[in-house]
Amino acid sequence: MNEKQSKWKVFTNGIIKENPVLRLVLGCCSALAVTTTVSGALGMGLSMTFVLLGSNIVISALRKVIPGKVHLPCYIVIIATFVTVVEMVLHAYMPDLFKTLGVFLSLIVVNCIILGRAEMFACKNTVIDSALDGLGMGVGYILVMFLMSSIREIIASGTWLGIQLIPDSVEKMTVMGSAPGGFFVFGCLMALCIWIENKLNKPIERKMCGDCPGCGHADAACSQGKDGKGGTEA
């Protein structure tokens, strides 16, 4: 029973407690760029979840084999392989979605969520835990993408998943569909998230690029463990 609970905790961790976009502030580029339509955002979210799941499983399976000094290139190759698989599948079976996502599909490789989870979680935990963590993070990412894209699509073009909600006679705020709207909606969502945190009396400190351990710095968790300084690895 206890075992089951902890597995469930690992899975739900990514959805609320460590939501990748709103609480860890990782992978903002794609969250801002492809949330103009709900269908694009869902496609991106599913692709991301697949890559996250695959790379977390492989990286945690190989965590004792990959030398600490070259862990970053190794991770990148593993992640890039999964991204290429997604690219080829989408190109073959969903050419419209492939076109909508454009360059951001390839850019999943450098998305901080995936490298961040590899550095922070997969390199220190078992395969099953890492798979659950990848799934949880993916679901958390999809939920935020879904929320953001719903707001933006409804306000900017009056449709939701292609279904007309606001009649044509009403003037739409097209700016929500372009770059400034993305920043604005993201900022407001994050403010809402902080407001809820304050109401629940559980504020957290958000780390920003430069001081998050995701990017494979020399002092990242993994390389420390491997070099025997951190000692997190048995």
């Binding site: 580029c29 290429t84 490789v109 490298l115 304050n198 690029c209 430069g210 990017c215």
Partner: protein
């Protein structure tokens, strides 16, 4: 010849103003939000990004044209490009450390962040997408020059966005927003306003250069 110069100038200035990578195309948001707190660090990061983008495009563009496309390996683009960028960043880091330690001290801390900066991989992929078709029409030299100018323009655009936003941010720090907007949310909203101002540049560059030439 003047049409060539006009093309190059159009690419350069539209990469800075109209298609600004950070504020219009959403590439490289993480370093934009994370490093733009202080003026000197934004300059350092911006310069390092310009250098890495230029060198990465200089290597990946011919690689795509003469190796991947010729051998039918175009599907390997993502893997090859990210590996090339990772290796290049490492090489630049080692070279700077060994030969120009002063520069390494000021820029070195930003180099590891650049491998995973999506604007570097983005510029190499977009350069191939946009300019590889020109190779058949105008020859490799012209297409290569276009790609290189695009990469420098994108880097300068990144630097400009960082500098402008650094100024905006220092004003925002002193403001007093509602409690839940403090920190990142108000930063994002001010980024939205900065980005809104860049929308005003749409169509500007083509028209000015068209009028000059």
């Amino acid at each position: 010849m003047s049409s060539g110069v006009a093309t190059f100038a159009t690419i350069f200035f539209s990469m800075i103003l109209v298609n600004n990578y950070v504020l219009v195309q959403f590439l490289g948001i993480c370093p934009f939000l994370g490093v733009s707190k202080k003026l000197d660090s934004s300059v350092g990061m911006g310069l390092a990004v310009i250098a890495v983008m230029f060198i990465a495009t200089a290597v990946t563009f011919p690689l795509q044209m003469f190796l991947l496309d010729k051998e039918g390996l175009a599907y390997m683009q993502t893997i090859i490009f990210i590996l090339v960028i990772a290796v290049l960043v490492q090489l630049i880091e080692i070279t700077l450390k060994r030969y120009i330690p002063a520069l390494y001290k000021s820029l070195g801390v930003y180099l590891p962040l650049i491998t995973t900066n999506c604007c570097v991989l983005g510029v190499t992929i977009l350069a191939v997408q946009n300019y590889s078709a020109d190779m058949a029409a105008y020859g490799f030299g012209f297409a290569y020059a276009e790609a290189l100018i695009c990469s420098v323009g994108a880097g300068v655009g990144f630097l400009v966005a960082m500098l402008l936003f650094c100024g905006v941010r220092q004003r925002v720090e002193n403001a007093d927003p509602p409690e839940s907007f403090k920190g990142l949310p108000i930063t994002l909203v001010s980024a939205a306003i900065t980005s809104l101002s860049f929308m005003g540049f749409g169509g500007l560059v083509e028209n000015i250069i068209g009028a000059l030439m």
